[in-house]
Every structure is written in structure tokens, then in C-alpha cells.
Subunit: 268 residues, 3 copies
């Protein structure tokens, strides 16, 4: 693993408090040349599932060797471990609570996970409420200086996995759910383009139809194809099925919530 100057931050800190800013101060105190990019600090408070989905969908858009720091950490200060996940192309730093479950899934053949216990790299050893600042920021900074990742702790294999919520197979179909509502009110599901392609391939003379609850929803190729205030589906930029209303907020207009059931059914 080469040194990298690029560190991303993902958290549920929001931007109204100085939490993210202070982490940057700590990083730059150790490595003044680090380039720190906010992926987002808008994860819902304590929502490990949303954090896992967000980093899982987006880490691959960053340059090789980027260090991704993810701090959504309801167990901060308890005995849960701090981990460093090293793949072929990236490093990930965060609490051992499942925030990296999509990474484990996608990169399963080439993954090393360490329990970070080399406390001399920490800003404070007794940190109990802000380990983003006291543990993860300094470790990210030292890593970005090119220090061998093996010096930060011990190899573990019993890290916490929160199995990604993948869609379930139905007879002639798939059942997924709404995972995220974005800023535009679009409702993103856990059904991927690959899931849809596999389903279609299995039954070539059928066409897939999308249902949100009992409502059939037509599939479109771009937002601007949507007419009026009607609900449509699209394969979005993360390659997942998404519901939208053109120029309006689908989630509000159509009363869609995280967890709502979505089905894809093959019909002749």
C-alpha cells in the first residue's frame, strides 16, 4: 500500500458543529499535505445502515490509495474496536460496527482487517466521546504519511458484519425496499441493475414490472421523461432502482418512506 494524500470523511456529525473541522485540524497537524474531502456529514444520527450504504456506493469514485474515514459510531467509548480495513485499492478507518459491510461484500477476496491498538498514534488514549478526532483522524494522518498499515494493530477476522440488505428472490421476481431518500426526494431502493439483469436473463420471454407496494410504476430512462406529478422508476447513478417525480419530491408527493417494500415481477 502506497502513501496517499487523499483522505475522505463520512459521518453523522452534520456541519453546524465544529466536529468535522476539528478532525481536519488534527489531520493537518500531523500531515500538512493531506487533502481532505468531505464525502458527506449528513448521515442520519447513529444510522450505521445509511453510512454503510453511502460509503459502499461511493468509495470507488475516488483515486486509488484514498483513505476513507467513516465515523457513525453509536458505541463510541465502549469496548467496540476501531478498525482499519485494507483492500487492494483503498484503506478504510472506522468503528467495528458494520459500517464497512458493503466493502466486505464487494472486496471479499482481497481484504485485511486490523484492530487498531497502537495507541501511541492516538491524540488521546482515554478518548470516550470523540474518537473521530482522537483516534481516527490521527491514524488517517499517519497512514497518509506512508507508515506501514501493519504497525497500527493486529489482524482480526471476527469483525462485525451487518449483512447488506439485499433484495430477496420471489417466484418470478424480487422483493427489495427503500434504502434512502435523497435531497430531491428521490427514493432509492436496494435493487441493483445487476439484480434486474440476472432476473431478466433467467426468464427471457418475460418483461420486468416495478411495483411500489401494490402500485405499478413505469420505468423511464431519464427524469425529464416523467410527466406531470406521476411517479416513475429509473436506474439511477449508483445503478440502483429509484423512484422519482419529475421536478418534484417523490417521497413527499407519494408518501414513500425508508423501509417501504418494492417488487420487481416478471410478466409476459
Amino acid at each position: 500500500m502506497q502513501a496517499s494524500l487523499l483522505i475522505t470523511l463520512t459521518s453523522d456529525f452534520g456541519l453546524d458543529d465544529p466536529f468535522a473541522g476539528v478532525m481536519k485540524g488534527v489531520i493537518l497537524s500531523i500531515n500538512p499535505r493531506a487533502n481532505i474531502i468531505d464525502l458527506t456529514h449528513g448521515i442520519a444520527s447513529h444510522d450505521i445502515r445509511e453510512a454503510a450504504f453511502t460509503i459502499g456506493m461511493n468509495y470507488g469514485f475516488f483515486p486509488e490509495h484514498t483513505i476513507h474515514v467513516v465515523i457513525v459510531d453509536p458505541g463510541v467509548g465502549s469496548r467496540r474496536r476501531h478498525i482499519l480495513v485494507v483492500t487492494d485499492r483503498y484503506c478504510f478507518l472506522g468503528p467495528d460496527n458494520g459500517v464497512f459491510s458493503y466493502i466486505y461484500e464487494k472486496e471479499k477476496h482481497e481484504i485485511t482487517v486490523l484492530d487498531i491498538n497502537a495507541e501511541h498514534y492516538f491524540l488521546r488514549k482515554d478518548s470516550s466521546t470523540f474518537q473521530g478526532r482522537d483516534v481516527f483522524a490521527p491514524v488517517a494522518a499517519w497512514l497518509s504519511l506512508g507508515i506501514d498499515f501493519r504497525t497500527f494493530g493486529d489482524h482480526i477476522t471476527d469483525y462485525v458484519i451487518q449483512p447488506p440488505q439485499l433484495p430477496k428472490s420471489l417466484k418470478n421476481g424480487l422483493r427489495g425496499e427503500i434504502m434512502h431518500i435523497d435531497k430531491f426526494g428521490n427514493a432509492i431502493t436496494n435493487i441493483s441493475r445487476t439484480d434486474i439483469n440476472n432476473l431478466v436473463r433467467s426468464c427471457k420471454d418475460h418483461t420486468p414490472k416495478v411495483f411500489l407496494g401494490k402500485r405499478a410504476v413505469p420505468l423511464k430512462g431519464c427524469y425529464a421523461e416523467g410527466k406531470g406529478r406521476n411517479l416513475y422508476a429509473i436506474i439511477n447513478s449508483s445503478e440502483h432502482l429509484e423512484f422519482f417525480v419529475n421536478l418534484s419530491r417523490a417521497a413527499g408527493t407519494c408518501n414513500i418512506s425508508i423501509g417501504d417494500k418494492v417488487e420487481l415481477r416478471l410478466v409476459r
Copy 2:
């Protein structure tokens, strides 16, 4: 046009989703030395007019050769073009929907507009929902590496102009409107200092008076001159007439909305 390392982003993405963060990942994957500054991601969803006003008022505060990327794009994925606008001092990248109308107005003598169609520079050619990531981010990055702007597409002259909402002349006055409510509740109009100066020059023995609807509003030189909860007008930092209540939210206190009519009348 020289290479620039500075790229600004303006969008309606908000900061709760990873959209802006991912664009930065794509840019830095192509040009690790790029310096990316958020102008704002707080434009109201799909509000081309607000985006045009925001970039139009602020692009000039950035260093020469800055690449300004503006993604407010209700037509994403439709046949609307992606354009590159090159002026003497800056480059602008965004959808061809009028977001650069103020630039066309201010820089009219020295402007080249290209339809970006060199798809080999794109991250994905079939992008339909997130061209900020798939088209504009990579093109900005390649531009920032010093690639000749002419290689990105073909010169066009029929780009979309949304005429900036300029104030209308009245007999002995001007009629403008509220364009933007800022974070402090200040209400910014489309009447500029130049508009006021021209008006006054035309009638030297008269004094301009400001009216919001039928209400006469006194003009002050700084916010702290405002007394109590009274409404005042000021020439603001963008050289536009603005309404304020000192230490309070004028828009809320005085029920001011975008589109409200404002008049400047010359009186003896």
C-alpha cells in the same frame, strides 16, 4: 487559456447526500492537484434562475483561469446539451439551460461557447441522472490539466439564454423585484447600484426613494444603522439593493417573498 488548478462547484445538491463529495473524487482521480472549492450547494432544487444569479454575482471574486462548474439541471439526461463557456478570464461548465445567462450579459464581447461532445473525456457516456459526476467533473478535471478547450466539443452560438431579470424603467423610476432571501433573512433585489446611479444622473434635482410594494423604506449605509425591528434598505456587497432588519430576519418579520415588487421613485 492557461491551465488552472482551481475548480469551483455550484449546485442544488445540498450537502446531506454524497453528490458533491463524489464529484470531487472523480476530479481528483484525473487531476490529483486540483483545488476544489464549493461556491454553494444550497441552490433551491431545479432553480435555474437562482443558480444564474448566484454564479453571476460571484464568479469574478475567483482567480483568473478558475473553472466554474454549475450543476442545476432539471433536464439531466434529456437532449439538452452540456456546454463549456470560455471567457477572457474564466471557464464555465454546466447544462445548456440558461444558468450562465448573467455571464453572457457581462462578458458578451469575449465569449466562446462549446457543445461538449468529446465523450471520451466522460466517465460514462450513457449517464442519465448524474452528469455532474459523469460528464462535468471529468471535463473540469481534464480542462484543469491544461487540455485545449477546443478539443471538448464544437463551437455553438444558439445556446440557451434566460434573459436576466433586470429592473424595468418607469416614468421617474425603476421597478425591480426580490431575487433571493439569504441566510440572515435579508431580501436581495435585482436593482443594482449602477441602475440607481443611472437613474439619479438622469434627473439631478431629484432624490430616489425606495418602495417595497406601497411601503416607503429608508436607505441606510450599514446594518447597524437600522433601529428596532424596522425595515430598511441598503446597497449590499453584490452592489444590489437589499432589504434588512438589523439583527433580525427581514423576510420573516416583514413577510417578504421572492418575486415581490420593489420600486425606486425619483422625488423632489
Copy 3:
């Protein structure tokens, strides 16, 4: 004082308007190598007390020679001065309204304060509504280029101090108050670990008990030790007493507001 490339921004500008972005454009126009970090732009509008507390708790996490710019400035454009505060390790730029009161307190032995009046460094001399852009951004940029701080103005000693709200001594105790509610709904007091240690040392056979109003609140070592929806206290990452409800919003759940009284009482 050495040149620094690191400049932090703290303000009440929010992120929906382009104010912070434009300040960065002005800084980079003067010093393209400056590294600008947002500490936060989420200070409540015009809240000098919150700004003072925020910069006071966090400036020390940044590298030596960092230039901290703090713009919470209800008197912008009035005759209040613009000041430059130089300590052993940092520079601070902002309005002379008390935003640096914690700095004066903490760094009292080694402080120089200048009234910034060298107007040739300003972007605009007649700026009345956005001195963050017109005065503080350019002065920060010139400072970051290594220009001697003494050239920016005249030494003063009568700068405005808003005495930090420190807890008051009681017979066998301390009375403090709630200073800030953070993004997680945690309620932070002005009682520091040092205050508590001094109190305990004064009366060794007693134990301190925490009261919010009349309610006794148990002290915990980390958030995860909190059970159910009960209210607890903790010494937080800024070394201050804080109230929390594990995985919930203490301020909302328990109706806590800024200014609420908190007591620490010694009991046998």
C-alpha cells in the same frame, strides 16, 4: 510569526449562500497556495457568545501558525474595529466584538492585538455589509504569504472583552449553565473538568453530584453506558460537563435549553 498556509473560517454564514465560497475565492486570488478549512459556518446568526465558545474550544487542535478567521459580526460596517490577535502559536482575525474572549483568557501572557487599519490590503475600503470578503479574507491571505503582522495596523490594548461565562462558586459547589446544544441534541455546559477537579480537591472526603435544575443526573464514562431514555452527564471531548441520552436527543427529550442552570454539589 512564520508564514502559514492554513486558514480556518468560522462564521454564522451557513452554507446555503455563497458567502464562505466567495471568501475562499478572494483568499486564493491573493495566495493560491492557501489551504482553507471550514471550522464551521453554523454559528447561530449574530451569536457572538457561541462563536467565542466554538473558537475557544477548538483553535488548539490546528497546527501552529494557523490563521483563524472568525466572522460573527452584528456590527459590520459600523465603527467597530477589525482586529488581528497574535499569540505564540496562532493568528486570529475578526471583528472587535468579543469573539476572541476565550483566547484572551487562555493566552493572556502572550497576546498582541492590532487594530487593522492598513486599508491598502483590503479588497474594498468602503465595505459595509461583507467585511469577511472585503477585509478579513484579503488580510488573512496576505498574512498567509508571510507579511509581518505589524504592518496591518496599530497595537491596541482596549479591545472588547466579553468575559467568558464561567461557572460561579457556591458553598460546596458550582453553578454553571448550558452553553450549546450540538447536532446530536447533547447539551454542553460551561463547567470544565478542571473546575470539577479543583472543587473535588478542595473537599477530599466529598463526592460531586450533578444537578440539572433540581434533577440529579448520574455521571457516566461513555455514551453507551446510558440506559433507556434516561438523562446522564459525561465529561465530553472539550473537557466540559455535558448532558446526554444514549442514542437520543437529550435537549429534546428532556427539554433542555441554552442558559439552563446546572449545579455541581459536593455531598458526603
